[in-house]
């Protein structure tokens, strides 16, 4: 039996195992769910959705407002035109953000995935230490991580800039990738690895042809999460940035502090639309891989 057929069987087998024996409970639950929740919770839900979307709607409307300010002064595309023609600094910040997001997510994905494999399937002396290290950064307040990195970089004499931001982002991204890949690996039985080894695969072949493909949904969502978190981060970046290394959140921050241009409204709308357009197909793709 080749690696591929082995894998195919696993893929077919795993979801089956997960579903067995649940159908009865599920249908009962569905029945219970069909009796809709109370009108109070329905009101709470929709009021919350209005609350969630209200700021976005305000930005959308303001982005088409001819003049700055709270009162409507006429429809215009001027801020969109300015966004794409006169905002060089903004696009440089966007470029920095994209570069750091990609590099830090890649680093975190490689190191996080390898560690998840090691911790899930092997025993070694510092296993508990790795687990703890991959948990703590997620729960410490950002400000503490930011300050400690700033002090650390000053201590070792690293010039603050894109490199220090990259290191900081890879650091806070690592635990998320580790967690997501671990969760995926937990669904598989170690016998898959044993089978591959018994059939003559080397350690490296097992890694590349069995472990990596079957944990791909975990790896892919870990990578995407890392990219998102990196693009989002403001607080940690704020502390470890240096002259000239402006990321998009830092740019927005200085725009808020030192006079807001309505170009930011247009930028927000473009970013929300862009994110939705980017994430929707990716989500479907992830579901597709997971279903396979």
């Amino acid at each position: 039996m080749s690696d591929e057929t082995l894998l195919a069987e696993r893929r077919n087998g795993a979801p089956l195992r997960a579903k067995t024996g649940r159908s009865g409970l599920e249908s009962r639950q569905r029945h219970a769910k069909a009796r809709a929740a109370s009108s109070f919770s329905g009101f709470a839900y929709w009021a919350t959705i209005v609350f969630f979307f209200m700021p976005l709607v305000v930005l959308l409307v303001a982005s088409f407002d001819k003049e700055k300010g709270g009162e409507w002064s006429g429809f215009s595309f001027i801020w969109y035109v300015k966004l794409f023609t006169e905002s060089g600094e903004l696009w440089r910040a966007f470029g920095n953000s994209a570069l750091i997001a990609f590099a830090s997510a890649l680093t975190a994905t490689v190191l996080g995935t390898l560690a998840a494999i090691g911790v899930t399937w092997y025993k070694f002396p510092f296993r508990g230490y790795v687990r703890t290290l991959n948990f703590l950064p997620m729960i410490l307040p950002e400000i503490v991580i930011g300050i400690s990195l700033l002090v650390f970089f000053a201590g070792v004499g690293l010039k603050l800039g894109l490199v220090s931001i990259y290191i900081a982002h890879a650091t806070f991204n690592l635990p998320f990738v580790f967690l997501m890949v671990s969760a995926r690996l937990d669904e598989f039985d170690y016998s898959v690895i044993e089978a591959a080894r018994d059939l003559g695969a080397s350690e490296f072949q097992t890694l590349m042809k069995v472990i990596v493909p079957m944990s791909m949904p975990g790896i892919a969502s870990g990578f995407l999460t890392a990219v998102t978190l990196s693009l989002e981060d403001f607080v940690i970046t704020f502390f470890v940035t240096g002259p000239g290394a402006t990321t998009l959140p830092l740019f927005v921050y200085s725009a808020i502090r030192f006079g807001v241009s309505p170009v930011i409204n247009a930028l927000s709308v473009v970013m929300v639309a862009g994110t939705v357009a980017l994430i929707l197909p990716l989500r479907n793709y992830l579901k597709y891989i997971a279903a396979k």
Binding site: A36, G69, K123, F126, V130, I139, V144, I147
Partner: protein, 299 residues
């Protein structure tokens, strides 16, 4: 699953362990050490043991900010949970779970700072609310909606609500709602059956929700800075000022220790909860990740 003893395991984990030891653990230990040192003449530290930085914590100004931080964090967390409970319940019992989940997540794909900026655009003197009130003639001078505690709490609730909704939804989704009917049949009131039957069963989600709102709010920096002004300052802002402006690193370190200490207590409570039967460590971790991830960062 049991881990197999093999030589290769340590090699897989080594790069990760080294990275986090260097760039996470070492910086944290430096902060701990600095908090016990004297302030250098021009920033930095002097290599001498001192409790000065901890003595400074007793300073009236700091105590006041610490107290305010705790109050704001408690109020915002309580509000968030109170809203998240019925919302999560409604989603869990819904037939359109995917759509309802989607609607909760989408607004949080917007950049963290842009969401803050949007609230400034609503609440500011030149903002939507004041603009509207002026145009209908109710006011002539803008009313000050920003730069106060209320604005900070409002925006914090907005930012962290999904962190509470998602874990509550996940655990409630696994709850068998027939138990509520059973409780009702046995004579419990509607609210009573929810409080006494459902809440104990979704406790792990509740604890996750509380922690994932309280900890980041307690260490908040950007929101109080941008919508709170000087009077809305929280501990995070004091730490930042001590580092960037006053350049008193030991003092910034000792305040960071306080923030870390409070967060650690929360986490220990969280881990103690997870040892209870019914929720495995992996489930707890997955829940935590789900909350953080779906809300799209902005911790």
């Amino acid at each position: 699953m049991t881990a197999r003893p093999t030589k290769g395991g340590a090699l897989y984990a080594l790069p990760n362990a080294l990275w986090l030891t260097f760039f996470f653990l070492a910086p944290l230990l430096i902060i701990v050490a600095y908090s016990f040192m004297k302030k250098g003449l021009y920033g930095g530290v002097e290599n001498e043991f001192s409790l000065r930085a901890y003595a400074l914590l007793a300073n009236a100004g700091i105590v006041k900010v610490a107290f305010r931080t705790l109050l704001v964090a408690l109020a915002a967390t309580a509000l968030t949970i109170l809203i998240a409970l019925p919302v999560g319940y409604n989603m869990a019992r819904s037939k359109n779970q995917t759509l309802k989940l989607f609607l909760v997540i989408v607004p949080f794909w917007t950049n963290f700072l842009i969401r803050i900026y949007a609230w400034i655009a609503i609440l500011g003197n030149e903002g939507t609310i004041n603009g509207f009130l002026r145009s209908v003639g109710l006011i002539s001078d803008p009313i000050h909606l920003m730069y106060n505690q209320g604005a900070v709490i409002l925006v914090l609730v907005y930012m962290y609500l999904p962190y509470a909704v998602l874990p509550l939804f996940s655990t409630m989704d696994k709850f068998d709602f027939i138990l509520l009917d059973a409780a009702r049949d046995l004579g419990a009131g509607k609210l009573e059956s929810i409080v006494k039957v459902m809440l104990p069963n979704v406790r792990s989600g509740l604890v996750t929700a509380v922690l994932f709102t309280f900890i980041p709010i307690f260490g908040a920096y950007a929101v109080p800075l941008l919508v709170g002004g000087k009077d809305g300052y929280m501990l995070g802002n004091v730490i930042a000022d001590q580092v960037m402006k006053v350049r008193d690193w030991p003092f910034a370190s000792s305040i960071s220790m306080v923030v870390t200490f409070v967060s650690t207590i929360g986490v220990l409570l969280f881990l103690a909860r997870q040892k209870r039967p019914g929720v495995s460590k992996e489930q707890a971790a997955a829940l935590a990740a789900e909350a953080a991830v779906a809300a799209g960062g902005g911790r």
